[in-house]
Each structure stands twice: as structure tokens, then as C-alpha cells.
């Protein structure tokens, strides 16, 4: 028998109220209580543990479109950080047992333990369609009161995601180092804007020693790591409200330090280059999104979790001159032509910085874009070689 655990939670009536007044009724799930946040839906059929522990979901109430959640329980290996970050969790069919040889507890027990309020049994498809048509919006869940009007008032008073600077709420308080697996070949300063555990791991696998720095890191702190390259992670909030990181990145770019950014890091690069960012109606959250790598012509199936995106001022095929070099769109989502990656090249046409809006570290998600970590490694190695040559010359 490989069922690790069984949950026999008693369910109480629960309600979900959207800021536009639509109410869904269901049953409690996870901790009993009340919560508010931004309602977003995620279409991944696997990887709920990774999703829940992804800091980018800070202050968001996540609606899972896959009906059965919790089937494989939770384990000690798959979490992307040391806690669950979502503000609330909406599912249709919670599992009662955890079935996996790796499971150590049921998901529901984990949710209860971490005080995450959820709701189950609701028509998650209707809710998703509502969000698709009307856009992501604020939401409240209560499993302690069935008074929808009262909850609606609370929802309408809660802060909106637009304008929210949340990196400070999720970042590490102290710097830490993820050692390279095997021989250390390179060093990277990774600015934690809500970093997922898999990201430094993917770098470490490639012989990179990763110095993870808090979101408010200064250029001096970055320099002090002796990094060959700088990395900006994913993270929650409105990129337009996160200004300190942008100016740090501009300093980095000015020094021509190789840069790689993921998700929020892509938006930071966009803003550092002087581009605008905007809020998508309902965002991209799933692990099935087709992205065209315009530099190779290949289509990759990728993991996404973003509610904001970079606005490209001209035709997607055109380059834009910036103080740091010529910027171009390297990746595009084939579903809706949203900018999914940027690259900056210097006057010689050499790559100096690149970023993607999606998640090549892929936890959860397909591994199609994992090679981007190799691209970063090559960029840093090339820069090192060039520097050495420059010195000799």
C-alpha cells in the first residue's frame, strides 16, 4: 500500500465572492477562515505542490482548472520554497488520500497546518470563464461565514494587485549560497524577487555557485559576490511598482555584466531598458504554453505564471535602441503574441543580457526550455574569455 496518508476533513459550507459581486458556493478546504487576494486561474494538470509554494503567487487566490487536486499528496522534495504562498486555494475535487511512494502527508493537512483557506466543490470552470471574460479581479473566500455581502465589502476594501510592490514581502531576509554541483565553474549573483528553489538548482547543476541576495541588494553587494553574471528571479506584484530592482539592473547593464532574468526578471529587464509593462487581462498560468524562440525558430512548450507583461513599442520583429544596446524580442507566446523574452546585444552584436517571461526551470512544467540555463552559462563563459583576451591585448 503506497497511500501515505488519509484526510478525513469535515467540510463546512464556504463561499467565494468576486469583487464584481458574483458568488460561488462550495465547501471548506484547508484551513477554516476568511481570506482575500487576486483571483487567478492556473491550468496545469500536475504540479500543485510547486504552484502553492511559488512565491510569485503571493496575495493571489489560485483557482485550479484541473478538477482533482491533491492526489499525490505532498512530499519533501517538490516544494519551490519553504512555505505555501497562495492567499487562498480553489479546487473542485480535493483528494482524500495521498497516493505516491514519495508522499509524506496529504495536501489538505499541509494546507491546514499552514493556515491556507480554500474552498472546494465550486464550479471552477465557470469561475475560470468569468475571470477570462472579465479579467483577474479581487476575491474573497470564507468558510466561517456565509454572508456574501459582508465578504464582498471586505473584498472591495482589499488592495489591488496593480501598483503592488511585493518583492520585499517574499524575498530572503539574508543572503545565502547555493553551491555548485561538482566543480565550481562560474558564480552568479541571483537577486531574489520571489525565487523558486529549482532556479538556483538548475544553475548549480551547471557548475554555478549561486549567491542568492535579498530584493533590496545593492550594486556593491552584487559586486562583492565576484559574480560572472547577474540573475533576477520571478516574483509577485506589479513590475511598475518595483523600482529599486530596476535601477540596480540598469547599473548591472551599464557594467556589461551578463544578465539573465526569469518572469518578473524579464519585466525588470524591460523596464530597465525603458520599456513599459502592463497587466494582462487574466494572465498566463499553466504549463502548456507554446512559445516561439525567435532566435532558433523552435516552438517550446513552457511553464507560465505571469499577470503582467512587457509592452513592445514597435513591430515584434524590430529592434529598439536602448542606452545598453539594441533590444529585441527573442520569444513570443504563440497563443496571443505576448512578449515572452528579451535580449540585448552590444554594438558588436554580442549578447549581453537576456530574459524570458516564462519558467525554463520548469517546476512544475516541461523541460523544453531548460537549455536557456546553458545559454546563460555560455554567455558568462564568453564574457570571461573576452575579458581575458581584452587584458592580454
Amino acid at each position: 500500500m503506497n497511500a501515505a496518508a488519509t484526510t478525513r476533513a469535515t467540510r463546512t459550507p464556504a463561499i467565494l465572492v468576486l469583487e464584481d459581486g458574483r458568488v460561488f458556493r462550495g465547501e471548506s478546504y484547508g484551513a477554516l477562515g476568511q481570506t482575500v487576494g487576486e483571483a487567478v486561474f492556473s491550468t496545469g494538470m500536475t504540479g500543485y505542490q510547486e504552484t502553492l509554494t511559488d512565491p510569485s503567487y503571493r496575495r493571489q487566490v489560485v483557482v485550479m482548472t484541473a478538477p482533482h487536486i491533491g492526489n499525490t499528496g505532498v512530499n519533501t522534495e517538490d516544494a519551490e520554497s519553504d512555505r505555501i504562498w497562495v492567499a487562498g486555494y480553489v479546487v473542485r475535487e480535493p483528494a482524500r488520500v495521498a497516493s505516491s511512494w514519495r508522499a509524506t502527508a496529504t495536501l489538505e493537512d499541509d494546507l491546514v497546518e499552514q493556515g491556507i483557506v480554500g474552498i472546494s466543490g465550486v464550479d471552477t470552470r465557470a469561475l475560470t470563464r468569468h475571470l477570462r471574460e472579465r479579467g483577474a479581479m479581487r476575491v474573497g473566500i470564507s468558510s466561517v461565514s456565509e454572508d456574501a455581502d459582508a465578504l464582498l465589502a471586505v473584498v472591495r476594501e482589499s488592495p489591488s494587485m496593480a501598483g503592488a510592490d511585493l518583492a520585499g514581502e517574499v524575498t530572503t531576509s539574508e543572503p545565502y549560497v547555493v553551491p555548485a554541483v561538482g566543480e565550481t565553474r562560474l558564480t552568479v549573483a541571483a537577486v531574489d524577487l520571489g525565487i523558486k528553489a529549482m532556479t538556483p538548482h538548475r544553475m548549480a547543476e551547471r557548475g554555478i555557485e549561486v549567491h542568492v541576495l535579498p530584493a533590496d541588494a545593492t550594486l556593491e553587494q552584487v559586486r562583492a559576490t565576484g559574480a560572472d553574471g547577474v540573475f533576477f528571479s520571478n516574483g509577485p506584484g506589479d513590475p511598475a511598482a518595483t523600482t529599486d530592482a530596476v535601477s540596480l539592473l540598469q547599473d548591472v547593464l551599464r557594467e556589461r555584466t551578463p544578465f539573465f532574468g526569469i518572469c518578473f526578471g524579464n519585466q525588470m529587464l524591460g523596464r530597465a531598458l525603458g520599456l513599459e509593462t502592463f497587466k494582462l487581462t487574466y494572465g498566463h498560468r499553466g504549463i502548456n504554453q507554446p512559445v516561439m524562440d525567435r532566435t532558433t525558430g523552435r516552438v517550446e512548450i513552457t511553464a507560465h505564471n505571469h499577470g503582467f507583461a512587457v509592452a513592445w513599442p514597435t513591430d515584434l520583429g524590430d529592434t529598439v535602441a536602448t542606452p545598453f544596446g539594441d533590444a529585441a524580442v527573442s520569444h513570443v507566446c504563440l497563443n496571443d503574441d505576448v512578449v515572452e523574452g528579451l535580449e540585448v546585444r552590444d554594438d558588436d552584436g554580442d549578447l549581453v543580457a537576456f530574459s524570458v517571461q516564462y519558467h525554463p526551470e520548469a517546476a512544475a512544467g516541461p523541460h523544453d526550455a531548460e537549455h536557456l540555463f546553458d545559454r546563460f552559462t555560455e554567455l558568462m563563459t564568453a564574457r570571461r574569455t573576452r575579458s581575458t583576451e581584452g587584458t592580454v591585448r
Binding site: 500500500m1 505542490q49 484541473a66 492526489n71 483528494a95 523541460h367
Partner: protein, 1112 residues
Amino acid sequence: MPRRDDISSVLVIGSGPIVIGQACEFDYSGTQACRVLRSEGLRVVLVNSNPATIMTDPEFADATYVEPITPEFVERVIAQERPDALLATLGGQTALNTAMALDAAGVLEKYGVELIGASVEAIEKGENRELFKAIVEGLPEAWAAEVARSLICHTMDECLEAVATLGYPVVVRPSYTMGGVGSGIAHDEEDLHRIAGAGLAASPTTEVLLEESILGWKEYELEVMRDRADNVVIVCSIENLDPMGVHTGDSITVAPAMTLTDREFQRLRDIAIGVIREVGVDTGGCNIQFAVNPADGRIVVIEMNPRVSRSSALASKATGFPIAKIAAKLAIGYTLDEIPNDITRETPASFEPTLDYVVVKVPRFAFEKFPSADERLTTHMKSVGEAMAIGRSFTEALQKALRSLERPNAAFDWRREWVDLDKDALLAEIAVPHDGRLKKVMDAIRAGATPDELFEATRIDPWFLDQLALINEVAAEVTAADELTPGLLRKAKRHGFSDDQIGKIRGMSADVVRGVRHALGIRPVYKTVDTCAAEFAARTPYHYSSYDEETEVEPRERPAVLILGSGPNRIGQGIEFDYSCVHAALALSEIGYETVMVNCNPETVSTDYDTSDRLYFEPLSLEDVLEVIHAERQAGPVVGVIVQLGGQTPLGLAAALEREGVPIVGTSPAAIDLAEHRGAFGRVLADANLPAPKHGTATSFPGAKKVADEIGYPVLVRPSYVLGGRGMEIVYDEPTLADYIARSTEISPEHPVLVDRFLDDAVEIDVDALFDGTDLFLGGVMEHIEEAGIHSGDSSCALPPITLGAEDLAKIRVSTRAIAEGVGVRGLINIQFALSSDVLYVLEANPRASRTVPFVSKATGVPLAKAAARLMLGESIADLRAAGVLPAEGDGADVGPDAPVAVKEAVMPFNRFRTLEGMSVDTLLGPEMRSTGEVMGIDALFGTAFAKAQAGAQEGLPTSGKVFVSVANRDKRHMIFPIKRLADLGFEIVATSGTAEVLRRNGVTATVVRKLSESSATNDGRRLVDLITSGEVGLVVNTPHGTTSGGSPRVDGYEIRTAAIAAGVPCITTVQGLAAAVQGIEAAREGGVGVRSLQSWAEAVRPRSTPARDDS
């Protein structure tokens, strides 16, 4: 990359007759491919011997060859058509093997035909186990991909050596067979001899693989697509509820996978992509099967199919991603990102569908047709069909799927008392996979088996077991509740309980439950299969029901017609009925109706979202159909429901639907009932002065005996209201009759047993006709080749009738009209006649589409089902003649002298079944239908057409060599001429002593061999069977001695026939079949059997047809 411009014509090979393991899913995929290729402006040449398919409709290809799918015939097609390319990855293993044979014979090179989709090299790598193993083991180490430890063997000695290393149990897998033919699990040396022996024989390369047992592991499949730019997507993951050990075709399967974490799923995905790249499937789909050890997650790659498969069809229906259609586009050069997703229209096909629902597929078996067959489920596929259901939860989808099977005992049932449940006995029972195991698992749960005990017994994943426990808990709540509260009723419905199940628990009828439910406003909503979990708006109304909150059925203006499909394939009700339903949808769409299809069979063209304007993937139960009708009535006007095209399934609902106020278009339910009702139908015949065999009905043995005594033996006995001759037998004496009644437990006053005089030596005739109340259109008159008493579905037949005269045809026309008028037909009617001593007896009439409608349509070039659909909605035959749907004058009974002869031959599944002792089941034909499919041979003359039908159905007739003959005494007189002719043609005749003696007296020298029963010296008997098994004999003629009854064949002949089946030697069991075979052999020997497309024949068939009316 745009479409290749160096290809202008493509040859598509279909999969031939429906057999177990290769069914109508390949019609679905082939039809999609033909549509795509034609829409791209390519000339499409199609070869498929199966007339019941949509793909062989003349409008789906430029040249449609209904010819045997053998390398010889396909080469002739290539020589005639000179296509640029061959697409063989959409026609199952048959097409793939044919393409490989054509390549090996140098035919492709000779004619410069490029194999597209998958190259010969890729097919080799995918199918050859050693090459495949090397590929898997060569994948990156981090993925830890393995194959099961195994050894390839070519002889029994090698097998024994291999087992010394691998240990028992071992899995035996023959190379190059489809549907797991010849495979099995050997637990000891005796098993090994039996299974590996058969496997070596079944493999065209005399090769089997023995591998370590991974019984009880979790089993998964991934459907993968790749384009020529090396973009790869996973379309769907499928998890088998039945763990390793049961063929995936026989397993209950679930999509998406339910019990994998993302890490494990991504490992499977990485391996799948790695494999498709290394195998080198350049463009198109393939499927890869995995086993995962539940204890530690070790992954074993089981196999891959470098082609579209049964699972691809399931995955297409489960996700809305049309694998075959996309595969065809990729094959001609497009890349995934260039192809739009049909459902969203705005996003490309280069993505991975995500599901916000659960899909459950359940197999349907036909063991009742083969009473002596071993019913244990193994790696050798035995199911004949499947039903799929979609729900918003596993419990909902599972319960819907089980009731979609349309078997009274398939759904869970809580009526029986707890005391009946013996936990230990149940645990022992569920340890062995068998049809209906899940219900026994539920019983074991009721009996108090713990999750651990259940897992130990079945190795079914604990999550699934808990879902079953959840269903049981809900049932217990329904049982225990003082009253059925709205909350509880809704809860039960959300977990998929039918009104019928709830009613049984609460001791009320389903109608009452429905009434209560409707009064409380508890109805299902309809969600949409949209490939993207609602992330984008869906443009395609492909719906399923769920007890959820919000419905997505859009309002509409145009009047709708609902077409009820035929449900899961079964023997007696298969693709032929789907064909008619699809035609109705196409025809009614053309004339402005909104067509709404309701069906639950994932293999079919009818459940393709492009076939109708709206598709409801729903069980065909009264409850589910009524809810669809209600939803559609909310959406807009509903003209009515078509029940006469989908076989017995929708027909059985007609009366109840009408009672609920649903308009039935076409023949009324009262008329349908009249034709089924012995007494009323008898009066129709009497009024028209038409003779029927003497008959009566009875509900008990004394009653049946009285009838039989009056009309005289032999009698044909059968239950009323059945299709496919279920339970039908010819009874020669009273003890057998008593035995039959004793075995027929379902007999009741409402369902009496019918007793008919059996007409020995009659010629049986099948007629399909259209009637509009005024005019009759005889679609086709088919003459059976076998004598009366063999089910029409199993009998071969010829059209036009080869021995009937104008006078007979005139009689048939008059009788058909009288019956159609008397019954009150509006649409199609099928009548079976028997001509005996110049008297035309009416055997039965069915006022509905018959199994032969597609055959007749192909043979005559007249779209009968389309015409029928329009008649049902009020047009007349005169209208349809004017509109060009029907010929301007004449009909299927007065074809010109240039018309070809079409021969239909049935294909039997005997090689799929083994008795408990491991013997083949008997192969005799009888009044109960057992064939799974059919082929058509078409040519200018009967002999050639018959030879083609034989070549399409089985190994084909020999043109020289040895013929073994052993016939019953009553057949000896009729056998002399044909056997003499064979001897004159140079065949060596081998016969049993009695037969040989008769032949000798008639101047034919035959070598005598002894029958098993004639000699105690078993050596002789063995030699006879060995003679057949060794392949020395090219044709076996064996007519049964005496009769069969209750599935217990006479020993005489049994071994001969089963040996013939095992060795793949054609076996003829009737004298009429023998005569036809001789004509076929003569035709084949004359050589130059040509091929000709239906389009080319059409000119000969319909010389007087007028072009379609110009509407402009």
C-alpha cells in the same frame, strides 16, 4: 515551413475489416486524413477493403479502391494511380505492415513512391524490439529510462533458455502483430509452450520477446506529435486503472493521468520526446506506453507505435485535439505552429491540451458470444468495443462510462443485501482481471475490505480505490437517508449516480426519481471540451454533461435534429450504424438543419466534433438523452430525434422518448414496435397475403414445445428484441429445446421466446429499401451465399443477387412494398426473406437502418442513409430523385448489365479467443452473429469479386496445392462437382475416408487421412491436424456433422477448424461457400485480377443518373 509542393497525390491505406484490436478508430483517423489531404488540393487515392467505413465513401477520395489490403493488390493500385507519396501511419498495423512489405518488395522504389509520416527506418526502430531497446537505453542517463529485461527468441528452445535467465512469470510478446495477438503471461513451462508456441506462429518473422514480469505496475500512455522542424508536443496522458497485465485495450483507462506528480510526469514526457526523436518519426503521431513501479517509481518503457493508434483516437476525443488530422497536415510538410487549433481558432496546434474534466474509457466484451472462451483478461486484447464518458470528476465520469456500456449489469448496484458479500471470496475473485471486475471491487468494499487488502489483491492505485470507496459512501448515504433531500440527490448526481441507480437503492423507479429531480430543478449542465481548460473561448460545441453550476450551450436559431448514435461497438452493432448516423448528419446539415449528435463511442466518426453542428458525448440511456433534448430545447427549436439509424440502442429508446413528448422523426415508435411484435406483424403479412415460416411465441418450455410440435422441427428459437442474433439457435429436437429454454433466463411475458419453423436449404435474401408512404426505392437486394440459418451478419452475400431471376425480384419488390406500407415505414426498412421451393417467405422486417446499408450504398453508388434522413424529415422519394440524391429513375434492384458484382464477406474473431485449456474456440457459423467486421470485393463477375472478398477477409484463396475436404453426409452430394473441378484444376485433394469414398466413386482421387474420432491410433488424427498446422494444406473444406447447441461443438471437425484458424488457412464450412470459392479460385487462376475504383465503377452502376439539381 509551408506544405511541401513536391507532392501532388497521396495514397492512403486504410485498416481493412473491423477486428478486435483494430476497429473503427482507423476509419475516424483515415477519414480525417482524407479530408485534410483533399482540402489541401492533393489527389487522394484510398485503398480499404471495408465498405462500412466513412472513408470509403466516394466523396472522401479522388479514387477509392475497395480492394484487399495486400501488397499484391496495393501494388496494382500504385501501378494504376502512380501516387507521389504513401501515407501508411493512419491505417493501423495493417497499413503499416503493408507499406513495409511494399518497401521490402521494392515496389515503392520501382514506382517512385515516397513513404511519408514515418520512414521505413523509423517504423523498423519503433517495431523492432532490439532496436527499440537500444534507443531507450541510449537516452540521457538522468532520465533513467529502461526497458524490461528481455530476450528475443526464434524457437521454443531459445524460449526455454531465456526463461532460465529471466525466471517466471515471463511476458511473451510476438513481433509485428497487432492488438497483442499471440501475447500472454507464462507462469510455468506448460504456459510457455502454449503461449510462446502460438506467438512464434503468429509473428510474421517467427519472433517472440520474453521479458521480466512487471505485472501490477502502474501503466501509462503518452500521445506524442512531432513535426519536421522537430517541434514535439504531448497531446494527452492516459492512465490505466487496471495495472500492468491487462492489455490497454481491455483496461479501464483515465485521462489525464491521475496519480503522477509533476516530476514523474515530466520524466515520462522527456523520455517520450527522446524516443520519438531517436526513432525518427519525422511527422505525425505516435504513442508510448510506460510502466511505473508503485513502490519506487522505476520507469520501464513498454513500447511505442510509430503511427496513429486506438489510443490516439481516444486521446483526440478526450482532448479535442484531432491527432489524425494534424498528423496528415504534418505529413505534407506543415509545422505545428502553422496549424490553427480548430477549437479556439485563434491559438496554434503547437501546444499541449489541458483538461478541466476527467475522461474514463471502459471496454465492452462479447464473451457471451463465445461461451467456451477463457474470460480472464490478459495482454491479449479481447474487447470488441469501448465507451467513453466525460465528467467533472472521476466518480462522475466513471459512472457515466459504466452506464454507457448499455449492459444491464455494468453499473454499480447496491440492492443486494450485505450478508451476500463474502469478503474473502471477493478478494480472490478481484485478484484475477476479468470483465466486470470493478463491480466486484465495489462489492468487496461493501463487504468491508480494507484499502490495503484491495490494493494487495488488485494493485489498482489507492487513489482509484478511494474514489470507489467514495462512491460507495455516497450510496450508503442515499441508502440510509430518511428522505432524499435536494442536497443529497444533488450530491449523488454529482458523483455520477443515474436515476436508475438511485431508484434501485430507494426502491422507486427511475421515472419517479427523474420526476422528483426535475421538480427540484436538479439537472445537469453542459460543459465544453475546449483543449485549454477555458483559457480561451471555444468555437466548437463539443459538450458533456455534469452536475455543476453553469451551462455553456449556446442559443441557436436554426431548427435542430438530434441523431442518436449506436454506443459502444459490439458484435451485431458496429461501425455500419455509425456510418448511417454520420450520413444523416451530413445530409441534414446540407439542407439547413442544425445537427446534434449524441453518442459515447470514442472510436467513431460520429463523435468527431466536425461531423455534426453540435456533439454531446453522452451515454445513450433514456435519462441522459432526455437531458440533452431538454438542453437543446432550451437553446432553440427541436424538430425531432432520429432513432432509426443507430441500431438497436436508439431504437430501444424510441417508445420511452415518445412517451416523454419527444417527437421521433421517420417511422413512428408504434410502427417500430409493430414490426417487432409477432402477432401484429403476422397480421400485416396476412393482410398482404405474404407467407412467413410457421411460428409461435412462448414464455415457458411447455409453451415452446407445443409450438414446436405444431410446426415441426427443426425450429429457430430466439428472444425478442435483440440484435445480432443474440441467443438465437437452431433446435432439431425436444431435449435441445428444453435445454435452450432452461438457459434463457431473460424470458418473460414481456419478452417471450420466438419459435420459427427453420427452412432448411432455403436461399436467404436481404433487402434494404426506402419508403416514403407512397413510393418504394429498393436500395439493394442481396443474396446470401451460405444457406439459411447462418446469421445474415456472418453470411457472405452478393449484390446484385447472382441466381435470382426477374420474377423473384418482382416478388421481392411487391412484398417489400406491402410490408413497408403495412408497418408504416418512413425511411429505411430491412427485410430478410427466404426463398424455398419458389415460395418467398418473410423471415423478419426491421424498420431501421441495417448493417448492410453502407455495403449497399458502396455497391450501388446510392447514399441510402442520406436519403433516409431526408425522408424522415418530410421529403419524398420523388423529391430526392429530383434533387439528385437518388437516381432519376430505377433503383438498386434493376441495375444494368454492366454493373459490377459486389460480395460482402464477414470477418470472424475466432483467433482472439482461447478456451480455458488454451484451445481455439470453435469456428462454426450459426444463427448467432459472431463476426466483428466485413470486407467487400467488387468486380465484373461473381467469382472474381468473391476471390477479392476472401483475400480481403482472410488469407485469400489458394490457386494450387492441397485441399482438405471433410463434409457432412447431407452435403456430400453437393460437394462432388466443386471438388472435382478443383481436382481438374490440379489441386491435390486430401479427404477423410467417407468423403474420399464418395469422391472416388465420382472419379476424383483423394488421399485419405483419418479423423481423430475414427481411430484410437492418435497418430493418424495428429497427422491431420499437423497437416493443417504445418501449412501444407492451402484450403480446408469442412461442413459440420450434425448441429451445435449451447456452445458445445461436436468434436468432429472442431480440431480441424480450429487448426485452420490457428494456421491462418482459409476454412470453408458450407457447400455454398465451397461453390463460390471454386469460382473465385478459377477467377484468380486466370490471372489479371484488376483493381478499379468506386468512382470508375459508378459510371457503370448509375448510367441513368442525372446530375444534381442546379440550385443557382
